[in-house]
C-alpha cells in the first residue's frame, strides 16, 4: 500500500540551513549537506530544500550546491528557489534532483508549468503556494517572493489552473502557521484537497506526532511536510536533526487508523 510521505523541508539562506517563524527571522541551524547526510541515515521518505533568498535577491539557483546535495541524497529530493526558466528546471533535473518546485515564477508566467511538464514530465514539476489567512473576511491570499508580496489571484482558481497546466504536485504552505509548531492549517488543506487530483503536500505548523496523525487521519494519502519539527528537539528548541524511525513511523500509521 502507498504510504503518506513524511517530508522534512529545509530552508537555505547564504549557503546555511535556517528556520523561520511566519517566514521571518531566519535562525541559522547548520550546514545543509550535513543535514542531507543525517536525513540519509534516518531514511526519510523525501526531502525538500528551498532556497529562500534566491528569488528576492534575483539570483539564479546555486547549481553547484544543488548538485552536491543531489549526489549525496539517497532519498528523493525536491528543490525550489530562484527558478525563472524551463532551462533552469531542466538543468536542475539533470543534476539529479527528482522534483523542482516553482512558486513566484509560476504565478508570473504560468506557461512555465506546461513547458516544464512537457520537458521533464509532470511527475517532476511541483508548484508551491504560500497562503495567508485573510484578516477581515473569509478565505486566503497568495503571497510571492518568500511571503513579501501579495499576489492577486483566487486560491481555488489558481489550484485548478496549476493542475490543468500539468503540475505533478502542489506544496501548500501556511505563512500564518510557519514555525509555530502548533499544528497545520487544516481549513486551508481541506479547501484545496477537495479540489485536486494530483498529490498534495501540506506544510506549515507541524510540531508533534499528533499533528502528523491528525493530517493523515483526515486526508490519508498526503505529503506531510515539516520544517521545525525535524530540526528542533524539546521544549527549548535545541537544534537537533531528528525524524521518526521506521518502527515509530509504522506505529504512527497504525495508531492513525485507530483514531
Amino acid at each position: 500500500m502507498l504510504s503518506p510521505r513524511i517530508i522534512p523541508v529545509i530552508l537555505v539562506q547564504n549557503k546555511g540551513l535556517v528556520k523561520t517563524i511566519n517566514f521571518e527571522n531566519p535562525k541559522y541551524v547548520g550546514d545543509p549537506l550535513n543535514a542531507v547526510r543525517i536525513f540519509n541515515e534516518k531514511e526519510v521518505d523525501e526531502l525538500i530544500i528551498l532556497d529562500i533568498d534566491a528569488t528576492i535577491n534575483n539570483k539564479c539557483p546555486d547549481f553547484l550546491s544543488i548538485k552536491n546535495w543531489a549526489s549525496e541524497c539517497r532519498m528523493p529530493l525536491c528543490y525550489g528557489g530562484g527558478i525563472s526558466s524551463v532551462e533552469e528546471i531542466q538543468r536542475i533535473i539533470s543534476l539529479g534532483v527528482e522534483k523542482v518546485s516553482i512558486n513566484s515564477s509560476a504565478l508570473l508566467n504560468p506557461d512555465i508549468i506546461n513547458e516544464a511538464a512537457d520537458l521533464v514530465g509532470s511527475q517532476s514539476v511541483v508548484v508551491s503556494i504560500d497562503c495567508k489567512r485573510r484578516k477581515f473576511n473569509k478565505g486566503y491570499d497568495i503571497f510571492i517572493q518568500n511571503g513579501k508580496k501579495k499576489y492577486k489571484i483566487d486560491l481555488i482558481s489558481w489550484i485548478l489552473e496549476v493542475e490543468k497546466r500539468g503540475a505533478g504536485e502542489i506544496v501548500l504552505n501556511s505563512i500564518d502557521n510557519d514555525g509555530l509548531m502548533k499544528g497545520y492549517d487544516l481549513d486551508l488543506i481541506r479547501l484545496v484537497k477537495e479540489k485536486v487530483s494530483i498529490p498534495l503536500t501540506a506544510l506549515g505548523g507541524c510540531g508533534s506526532k499528533k499533528d502528523i496523525m491528525r493530517l493523515i487521519d483526515e486526508f490519508s494519502i498526503i505529503g506531510v511536510g515539516a520544517g521545525s519539527m525535524f530540526v528542533f528537539k524539546g521544549k527549548f528548541k535545541a537544534v537537533l536533526i531528528n525524524y521518526p524511525s521506521k518502527i515509530e513511523k509504522l506505529n504512527l500509521f497504525n495508531e492513525t487508523k485507530k483514531i
Binding site: E46, S71, R74, V120, S122
Partner: protein, 203 residues
C-alpha cells in the same frame, strides 16, 4: 565494470555514489569507446518517453547498445523511464521504443480522488518470481515510486514484482539479460542499495 549510460538524462551521481559506498567500481559512458569495457549496464532515465528516446537516438550509442544487449547479452537494468523505453511503444509519446522487452507503456488511468497521479511515494512490491536481483530485501519491501505510466508486459513470465496502486502492475521486470525497474533504487535507501548491489553481483 559497471557502466552507467550517460545520454543526458537521469541521476548519474546518485548511482555512482551508491556504488562508491559499496566499494564497487563504476564509470560513465557517453561514447562508444566508454561502452567497450562494460560488463554491466545501467540505463537511467527521468523525464518523458520521447525525450528519452530522442536523447538516446542522437547520442550515437544506440546501435552499439543494441549489439551489447541483444548480441553480447551484457546484463542491463533500465530505471524508471530507462525501463519504459525498453518497451515497444508508450502512451506518453509517438516514438518507437527500444523493443528489448515485449510490452507497451500505458498511462495509469485511475480517476480516483484517493489515488492521485503521479503515483508518488513509498509502496510495497509484491514478488511474482524469484530473482537474484531482489535477494536480501527488508521485510517491508518498500521502494520509492514517481511516475504516471507503467510497463505492461506481454509475457507475464517477465514480471519479477508487481506493485498495487489502484490495481496491480509490473514494477520489476526481467527478460533474459535485460532488467527493468519502475521505482527508483538510487532513492530507496536500504532496499535500493541492496538491489543495485545484487545487480552488480549477478553472474
Amino acid at each position: 565494470m559497471i557502466t552507467i549510460i550517460d545520454y543526458g538524462l537521469g541521476n548519474l551521481g546518485a548511482f555512482s555514489n551508491v556504488y562508491k559506498k559499496l566499494n564497487i567500481d563504476v564509470r560513465f559512458a557517453s561514447n562508444v569507446g566508454d561502452l567497450k569495457k562494460a560488463s554491466k549496464l545501467i540505463l537511467p532515465g527521468v523525464g518523458t518517453f520521447d525525450q528519452a528516446m530522442n536523447k538516446l537516438n542522437s547520442s550515437g550509442l544506440r546501435n552499439y547498445l543494441d549489439e551489447l544487449v541483444i548480441k553480447k547479452k551484457i546484463p542491463i537494468i533500465g530505471i524508471c523511464v530507462g525501463m519504459q523505453i525498453m518497451a515497444l511503444k508508450s502512451d506518453e509519446g509517438v516514438l518507437p521504443g527500444l523493443g528489448w522487452i515485449n510490452g507497451k507503456v500505458n498511462r495509469l488511468s485511475l480517476n480516483n480522488k484517493n489515488s492521485p497521479l503521479p503515483h508518488m511515494g513509498w509502496n510495497d512490491i509484491k514478488i511474482q518470481k524469484r530473482s537474484p536481483l531482489i535477494d536480501n530485501l527488508d521485510n517491508s519491501k518498500r521502494f520509492y515510486f514517481l511516475h504516471s505510466y507503467y510497463f505492461q508486459c506481454q509475457n507475464l513470465d517477465d514480471v519479477i514484482a508487481n506493485v498495487n496502486y489502484g490495481f496491480d502492475f509490473p514494477c520489476i521486470i526481467n527478460h533474459k539479460n535485460i532488467f527493468g525497474i519502475q521505482c527508483h533504487p538510487e532513492k530507496s535507501h536500504y532496499n535500493g542499495v541492496n538491489l543495485l548491489k545484487n545487480f552488480a553481483e549477478l553472474n
